[in-house]
């Protein structure tokens, strides 16, 4: 009876993937993969991606759909990051400056993005995808033209335009993941990054408990009801888009400090789908998402993504990890998207 309840609550897709992940961990030692290293990798990736996935929640809650326009927030984050490097501030202050610069940019972009989505009610996700596309394309030009000067960021010879990948080492690499990190043998736990993720989750959870947050949830459930209850539906939707975009900006900064590089140009482009897939795998539907969906989904997605290539590589004795990673990642994205119509219970 208890098991049945648990299955009902968790949902089959999650149980299947969790079992798969478990079996990967179980086989790992037999094919010569170090479990502690793999677990460390999984934890690191979980922390890196958590906030990006969290950026889905506000928009989903107001019924704006899955945020395929995540690249917009990511671009804001990258602008903040590059500006902070340009200013030459390092360490904690540098990271704080990046967040501080990125957030207002994200808010402004999100505001316009929100207005746009309000005009296309019913096909938000399509337009969001398009916004993602075009903002990336626009920024491909902008990254070249913006008058950055810092030698760490611009192309070596020509002397103008930003590089495709910019190292943040020396600025704020591992500023969160290295903070209070616990190391036991090969197992590393990025405590600081987890605490940061937890704080972000708490903020979102807390916000959803406020009057405005409650109104946002109602707008997602039934906009007509919300309107008849005196809620300004369009405004609530804009608030949610702004929040999602800011979270996207913060998310990419967390990601970059752990990864060690900023990926400009088409980089942001590849970030939306894994985040969308994660939250769907976590059990969210198109207009309901919880913090649990974020955490569970991110862990499962990143877990499978780290473990499968490692295990298969060692079995086949080749190095195809990148190929396998792409196949697994896209496979899971596909699976998640086919699941999305299934509303829980």
């Amino acid at each position: 009876m208890f098991i049945k309840k648990f299955i009902d609550a968790a949902g089959w897709p999650r149980i299947i993937i969790a079992l798969f992940l478990l079996s990967l961990f179980a086989t790992a030692p037999f094919v010569g993969v170090l479990v502690s290293t793999s677990l460390s990798n999984t934890l690191e990736r979980f922390g890196m991606n958590g906030v990006l996935v969290l950026a889905m929640v506000p928009m989903v809650q107001t019924g704006c759909g899955l945020n395929f326009g995540l690249p917009l927030g990511i671009i804001a984050g990258l602008l903040g990051a590059t500006l902070s490097i340009e200013l030459g501030v390092r360490g904690v202050v540098g990271f704080a400056a990046a967040v501080g610069l990125a957030a207002p940019i994200a808010a402004v972009l999100g505001y316009f993005y929100g207005h746009l989505l309000n005009r296309v009610k019913g096909s938000e996700m399509m337009i969001a995808t398009y916004v993602g596309f075009s903002s990336v394309a626009f920024m491909c030009i902008a990254w070249l033209l913006l008058p950055y000067k810092s030698p760490t960021m611009i192309w070596g010879y020509g002397g103008s335009g930003l590089r495709t990948t910019i190292s943040v080492s020396g600025y704020w690499q591992h500023i969160l993941s290295g903070l209070m990190a616990v190391k036991v043998g090969h197992l590393a736990i990025p405590t600081g990054m987890f605490l940061f993720l937890a704080a972000m989750c708490f903020l979102v959870w807390f916000f959803m408990k406020t009057k405005t947050g409650t109104a946002m949830t109602a707008v997602g459930s039934n906009p007509e009801f919300a309107r008849a209850s005196g809620v300004d539906v369009d405004r609530m939707r804009i608030v949610s888009v702004v929040l999602s975009t800011i979270l996207g900006a913060v998310g990419i900064l967390v990601y970059s400090q752990s990864f060690g590089f900023l990926q400009l140009y088409t980089g942001p482009f590849y970030m939306a789908l894994p985040a969308v897939a994660s939250i769907l795998l976590g059990g969210a539907s198109v207009n309901k998402a919880t913090i649990w969906n974020v955490l569970v989904g991110t862990f499962l997605f990143q877990g499978v993504l780290t473990m499968t290539p490692a295990v298969i590589n060692n079995i086949l004795q080749t190095d195809m990890s990148e190929v396998i990673r792409i196949i697994v990642s896209n496979g899971m994205i596909l699976y998640a998207l086919t699941r999305k119509v299934q509303v829980k219970r």
Partner: protein
């Protein structure tokens, strides 16, 4: 020799997440027979019909027990399509028309007439175009069978609710294969005249050999229409009886398991002398652009502490008035509440000025279906009046007070006898009548100065009807709430209101004291509109 029954249910049982909803339900139905299914709100009527029709919600919640036997063959419908295939048609308690489609398109959905073309040979039927003239003819024939006059080109979202109901039924009639028709509260939103037309049409269908299961809370319809009736109580069949020889009182008693006073409400004791009271609401030259319920030019005043009724046939604009005053549809004119002008077109303004509203569109406007009951009940009060909130940081942040919300909901669950597992249950999991009570509670929580309420007892069972009307009276007397009730049930209006306005063609045909004889109301309803829809004997 008894023929094999068309439909036989054997020991049907069902539970939802551990709550037993149906157990051991058995009965049978012959060709051409009409069976009335009655029971209190939440007795399991809709659930039983959902099982019969193969609705996905049943399979999605663990399936059912027992067997459905059609023509002597055990059947199990995996989906509504299987049911349709087998000749079972269903009209649901909540509407299921496609809003942007015309009546004809809705009626013939998936059974469209196609223009034959050579392309079809190469590809499939998908490339064929629709043969509109034939479709329209077929649709209009189905509508005619029902004895009503609805344009086949009318867009579903622009129809008055009554018409929607007829279109849904026409859709089932057009399916030539239909042998068993299930109707879940088809008359709940119809006026007497309209339901009479419907009942006549159903009788004709039954004569043609179609078996019908008819669910209604208007018990006199059951007696009038059905051959036999089955009473459900808490998910069990407690009685099977011939309908014609049962009395209203008997049926009501079987339903609730004790004697009930089924007199439909005592007349409001002493109509106050309205001249003495101040004006509460004044409406001047109001027009409202509500699809299907257009209001052209309406003026009236309601005094403080009055209960004012608005009646009329479907589509004449009676529903447009409260919806317009509330700001839900584009509107113009002058509305004044307690001496202050009300800005039209903005629900927030109306709410802030002290109004509350119960919509006739329960699922569309009235409920957050996928949220908890307590959220549904308290949400408006939270947003408009800042109640059920805990201030934080000196009022900078307003945090939801979940405990207070649950407590408030619990008190309404008790006082309105809402059948549920607790304040945390989702609204979608409630039976129709109980959802209606949630909508009422939502308005009561606001403690409004003016309560606009549409179809207050829609889908509410005989026992609870009095409870609901008494709650209305109670709010009126205890808190001095002025109430404007819009209803398709004239009798209800006459029993609870002081004065009743009858609306015809978007205008007020007349305003009468509730104590006026029924005939005068009937004349107002029929006379001015010039539509000879019924015999004019609207009240019994």
């Amino acid at each position: 020799m008894p023929e094999t029954p068309l439909l036989k249910l054997e020991n049907i049982g069902k539970d939802y997440f551990g709550t037993r909803v149906l157990s051991g339900v058995s009965f049978s139905l012959n060709k051409g027979e009409i069976l009335g299914l009655v029971g209190e709100n939440g007795a399991g009527k809709s659930t039983l019909m959902n099982i019969l029709f193969g609705m996905p919600v049943i399979a999605g919640t663990g399936g059912y027990e027992g067997s459905i036997i059609i023509d002597g063959q055990k059947t199990e419908f995996k989906s509504p399509f299987d049911a349709l295939e087998a000749g079972v048609g269903m009209v649901h308690q909540e509407f299921s028309l496609i809003p942007g489609f015309t009546a004809a398109e809705n009626i013939l959905l998936n059974r469209e007439e196609l223009n034959r073309s050579p392309l079809e040979q190469i590809f499939s039927e998908r490339v064929s175009t629709l043969n509109r003239p034939v479709m329209n003819a077929r649709a209009s024939k189905a509508i005619k069978t029902l004895g009503v006059d609805i344009g086949v080109d009318t867009i579903a979202s622009e129809m008055p609710v009554g018409y929607k109901q007829f279109v849904e039924i026409a859709r089932e009639i057009d399916r030539t294969a239909t042998r068993l028709l299930v109707l879940d509260e088809p008359t709940a939103v119809l006026t007497e005249t309209e339901s009479r037309i419907l009942l006549d049409a159903l009788r004709k269908l039954a004569e043609g050999g179609i078996a019908i299961v008819f669910i209604s809370h208007r018990l006199h319809e059951i007696i009038e229409l059905c051959d036999k009736l089955v009473v459900l109580r808490d998910g069990k069949v407690v009685r099977e009886a011939p309908a014609k020889t049962s009395s209203l009182r008997e049926i009501a008693a079987w339903m609730v398991g004790r004697q009930v006073d089924s007199r439909s409400g005592a007349r409001r004791p002493e109509p106050r002398s309205p001249e003495l009271e101040d004006l509460a609401l004044s409406v001047e030259n109001l027009w409202v652009d509500m699809p299907g319920e257009t209001v052209r030019d309406v003026s009236f005043t309601v005094r403080k502490g009055e209960i004012f009724g608005i009646g009329g046939l479907a589509g004449q604009g009676k529903l447009g008035i409260p919806n317009g005053v509330m700001g839900l549809f584009p509107a113009g004119g002058k509305v004044t509440l307690f001496g202050k002008p009300v800005k039209l077109g903005a629900p927030r303004g109306a709410l802030d000025s002290g109004m509350a509203f119960v919509s006739e569109d329960r699922r569309g406007v009235g409920l957050l279906l996928s949220e908890r009951i307590d959220w549904n009940i308290t949400f408006t009060a939270m947003q408009v009046q800042n109640r059920f909130l805990k201030p934080l940081l000196g009022g900078f942040l307003l945090l939801r007070d979940d405990a207070a919300i649950a407590r408030e909901a619990q008190s309404y669950i008790e006082s309105l006898e809402i059948k549920c597992t607790g304040p945390g249950q989702r609204a979608v999991e409630l039976s129709g009548g109980n959802q209606q009570k949630i909508c009422l509670a939502k308005a009561f929580v606001l403690r409004p100065g003016l309560l606009l309420i549409c179809e207050p007892t829609r889908g509410i069972d005989v026992g609870a009807k009095e409870l609901v009307l008494n709650t209305l009276r109670h709010h009126n007397e205890e808190y001095g709430t002025t109430i404007v009730v819009t209803s398709s049930e004239l009798e209800e209006l006459r029993s609870v209101c002081d004065r009743v306005a009858i609306v015809g063609e978007g205008r007020i045909a007349g305003i009468l004291p509730a104590s006026s004889p029924a005939e005068e109301f009937a004349i107002l309803m029929m006379g001015k509109t010039g539509q000879k829809q019924g015999s004019g004997s609207d009240v019994h």
